[in-house]
């Protein structure tokens, strides 16, 4: 099993969620995040004083998938998250040793 972690633009979350739901992904976790990458911060101006805001709001999406589904889900996420401009984010994949569904104590792929 794999954990896909994606940091994406807040504006792309609904599209990613819809695409995953339409393609049989059973669950995802979404949280608000902030950070920086190659996209530099933006400028804010208050009464003439300029401030650079380094940490930009992003959304962190986490999805657990079976090894067999990994490439398909990854492609879906990249396609829907991509706007072609800087700051579209990053996606990384980590191996997961065990998954447990709390209610039923099911293990492994059955718990996904």
């Amino acid at each position: 099993m794999k954990l896909i972690t994606a940091i994406v633009k807040p504006g792309r979350v609904d599209e990613i969620k819809a695409a995953l739901q339409a393609n049989g992904v059973a669950g995802m976790t979404v949280s608000e995040a902030s950070g920086f990458g190659r996209q530099k911060g933006h400028k804010e101006i208050y009464r003439g004083a300029e401030y650079t805001v380094d940490l930009i709001p992003k959304v962190r999406i986490e999805v657990l998938v079976d090894d067999a589904d990994l490439d398909r889900v990854l492609d879906l996420m990249v396609q829907t998250a991509n706007t072609g401009s800087i700051g579209d984010g990053k996606i990384w994949v980590t191996s997961v040793d065990a998954v447990v569904r709390v209610r039923t104590n099911e293990r492994g792929s059955d718990a996904l």
């Binding site: 804010e44 101006i45 208050y46 009464r47 003439g48 004083a49 300029e50 401030y51 805001v53």
Partner: protein
């Protein structure tokens, strides 16, 4: 003497309108500071309502508006504890109102003026020191200056005959000069020019600015002390100048930084209302438009001075109230006209004589100098005795939790 019911009703309502400005100021200022000192910022305004009311009742009204003790400098103590005001009337013939309506109306001016000063010392003042400062400042600075310019036997109003309809000297230049003195005595905030100190809640700032704009109609039109043509002129002029300054401040920003900001719009509204305050009863609506446009641009430039000259007037009391107050007072010297108000005067552009402009300048400079020096001395004494500033650690952690044992927002769950 029989009172005029219409005039009385308007002055009573105006007292309530002007009082409403101080919570408005609390919200305007509260949104402009960082979240960690929001409550302290608002508390400085709220506490001003409490303390000033007591002082006004006890003796400050008497110092400002009782019979002059000599040379138009100060009122006597005949109205201590508001003695002799319950049955008496005040106002021009045919426009008599109960003196207590006037007491209340003027009290709200004292409250907001001292509350304005708190903007210069955001994030770093001891609350106990602020309370003592308010008591001293209302007594030593506000009451005499109000006597000079608002009492008929005060030297600015009764002898010099400078024109100040609603407090360009007493409220605006006075608060601007005092704010500069406070900022210099307390010193800069930890991280001034280094850290981001952006407003933590812009919607609050806009709400507060709206409340101030609304209350300003009582402030300016109420200063006619009658429900008459002059009150109507003052009201429309207030609206016009305030709107014009929103435009000129935002326009200035658009040219300078390329962006029109909401803080610029809110600040422009205040600058315009400040600029028209002394002039609202003496100029035409087109004159008000001009004053608003100038005030907005001058203050938009003025707020950058603290970075150049290196003083931390945190919320720009000097740049907004001081500078636009001066714009308003001096503009009268150019464009006031007897056509707008037969009780006023003609300015330089109408009469060709610089006489009125000279009077306006003398009144402005006298109030500026007295307020700055007296405030500097008061603040220095407080600083050297009980201390005016909180400890550096408290300032960094935030004064709300350290001083008030509260925080403005419960973040998270």
């Amino acid at each position: 003497m029989a009172i005029n019911a219409g005039d009385t009703a308007w002055v009573l309502a105006s007292g309530a309108l002007v009082l409403f400005m101080t919570p408005g100021l609390a919200i305007f200022y509260g949104g402009m500071v960082r979240a960690k000192s929001t409550l302290n910022m608002m508390m400085m305004s709220f506490s001003a309502m409490g303390i000033t009311t007591i002082l006004w009742t006890a003796y400050a009204y008497s110092l400002a508006f009782s019979k002059d003790v000599g040379h138009g400098l100060l009122g006597n103590l005949s109205h201590i504890g508001l003695a002799g005001t319950i049955d008496s009337v005040t106002g021009a013939p045919g426009h008599a109102i109960p003196e207590l309506a006037f007491v209340m109306f003027q009290m709200t001016f004292a409250i907001i003026t001292v509350a304005l000063l708190s903007g210069a010392i955001a994030d770093r003042a001891k609350f106990s020191a602020w309370i003592i400062f308010v008591i001293a400042w209302i007594t030593i600075v506000y009451s005499p200056v109000a006597h000079w310019a608002f009492a008929s036997d005060g030297w600015i109003y009764g002898k010099l005959h400078a024109l100040d309809f609603a407090g360009g000297t007493v409220v605006e230049i006075n608060s601007g000069a005092a704010a500069l003195a406070l900022a210099l005595v307390l010193g800069k905030r930890e991280g001034f020019k280094r850290d981001r100190m952006r407003p933590h809640n812009m919607p609050l700032v806009l709400l507060g600015a709206g409340m101030l704009w609304f209350g300003w109609f009582g402030f300016n039109a109420g200063s006619a002390l009658a429900a008459n043509h002059t009150a109507a002129l003052a009201m429309i002029n207030t609206q016009i100048a305030t709107a014009a300054a929103v435009l000129s401040w935002v326009g200035y920003e658009k040219i300078r930084e390329g962006k029109a900001t909401t803080l610029g719009a809110a600040s422009g509204a205040i600058a315009g209302a400040v600029g028209i305050t002394p002039a609202c009863g003496f100029v035409t609506p087109l004159g008000a438009l001009l004053i608003g446009l100038i005030a907005g641009a001058v203050s938009a430039y003025g707020v950058s001075l603290k970075y150049k000259l290196n003083y931390d007037d945190s919320l720009d009391v000097v740049g907004v109230h001081g500078l636009s107050g001066l714009v308003g007072m001096l503009s009268i010297g150019f464009i006031a006209t007897l056509k707008a108000n037969s009780a006023g005067a003609d300015g330089l552009f109408i009469s060709g004589s610089p006489s009125l402009l000279g009077k306006q300048a003398i009144a402005s400079i006298a109030v500026l100098a007295y307020s700055f020096i007296a405030t500097y001395i008061i603040a220095t004494i407080i600083q050297k005795t009980i201390g005016f500033r909180v400890h550096r650690d408290v300032e960094i952690e935030g004064v709300d939790t350290a001083i008030h044992a509260e925080s403005a927002y419960e973040l998270g769950r």
